[in-house]
């Protein structure tokens, strides 16, 4: 049976969501997205360059007909800024999904959870499919689910840190209680981190820097695709329990010289 992941009423076969920031150019972005197998890509909303308007647009390389475009509210520090940014993104015509980020602090880029809840409340009411970026905090996840968010997106570690999942136990608690998809967002460093997220039972993983800032982004994109697939299959297969002592793999009967 095909293993699909459903987000805001749409089914996806890829559980890897990738960002489009930090690449050298749009062509490299396109090739990395291609190699990652992602069907959902995040984008940021920014002022157009009015003095050089004829520059190419990212969406000329990543067609909204082919990819689900997930605009973010990155860089917003208040609920109002995030709400305005989300409304502009929807008006730009890529649908109702929004990755809601309300940042609380420049150094950690940790979310301002009360402001995120405030913005999510407004945006859900306005018909957005809100995917909030939050701490690995089960209570915040629960509140955002109750508001009507389409998923919750706890961080693995600070954005761009590459530290991997710092608190798998909190992610496990979020997973146990969540009825909406749980997507690990931010902090993944390498393929094994992505695999761990999937092995825990997360529905998907979202990353940008780990691929875009790797020495070879295209190869890392492929590694992440395989890491996510491996982790997902391992989760479905059901891992063995951890034990302190050994259990022999070879039969004990028929040993020579006994």
């Amino acid at each position: 049976m095909l293993d699909t992941f459903e987000l805001a009423g749409k089914k996806y076969t890829s559980r890897l969501i990738v960002g489009t920031g930090k690449y050298r150019d749009f062509e490299e972005t396109r090739r990395a997205v291609e190699a990652s197998g992602a069907q959902i890509v995040t984008v940021a909303v920014r002022r157009v360059n009015i003095t050089d308007a004829n520059k190419e647009n990212l969406l000329d390389y990543l067609s909204p007909e082919r990819f689900t475009i997930l605009p973010n509210t990155a860089g917003c520090y208040t609920a109002d800024e995030a709400i305005r940014t989300a409304r502009l993104a929807r008006e730009a015509g890529v649908g109702t999904l929004v990755k809601l980020e309300v940042i609380g602090d420049q150094k950690t880029l940790f979310p301002d959870v009360p402001a995120t809840i405030e913005a999510a409340t407004v945006l859900v009411r306005e018909g957005f499919d809100v995917l909030p970026y939050i701490n690995d905090d089960p209570i915040a996840a629960k509140k955002l689910e109750e508001i009507g968010c389409a998923a919750v997106m706890p961080l693995a570690a600070p954005i761009g840190s590459g530290l991997g999942i710092r608190n798998p136990f909190n992610i496990m608690i979020i997973l146990e209680h969540s009825k909406v998809p749980v997507i690990v967002d931010a902090g993944v460093g390498t393929a094994s981190d992505a695999a761990v997220a999937m092995e825990l039972g997360c529905d998907a993983v979202l990353m940008n820097t780990a691929i875009a800032s790797a020495k070879d982004p295209l190869l890392m994109a492929e590694a992440m695709r395989l890491g996510v697939e491996a982790g997902r299959k391992a989760f479905l297969a059901g891992r063995i329990p951890r034990k302190l002592y050994a259990t022999a793999s070879s039969p004990l009967d028929g040993l020579i010289a006994r």
Binding site: T20, V43, R47, N57
Partner: protein, 66 residues
């Protein structure tokens, strides 16, 4: 008349419509969104919506981001 576009003062033709401004700036209207004095202007309303002196516009598009 003077308006503010993306935080910068610009001189535009008196009473210009959002549609004509978008064309004058060389923008693809399918890839942008416009906010006029903090209110979204729907794409279908670009033709009718005229600017007044001292209006503040935000014109945004999608760029790479995570």
């Amino acid at each position: 008349m003077r308006v503010v576009i993306n935080g910068e003062e610009q001189i535009v033709q008196d009473g210009i419509s959002v549609a004509d401004l978008v064309v004058a700036l060389g923008l693809n209207r399918r890839r942008i969104a416009v906010e006029l004095n903090q209110q979204i202007v729907a794409r279908e309303a670009y033709e009718q919506r005229q600017l007044a002196a001292d209006d503040a516009l935000e014109i945004v598009t999608f760029v790479g981001g995570g």
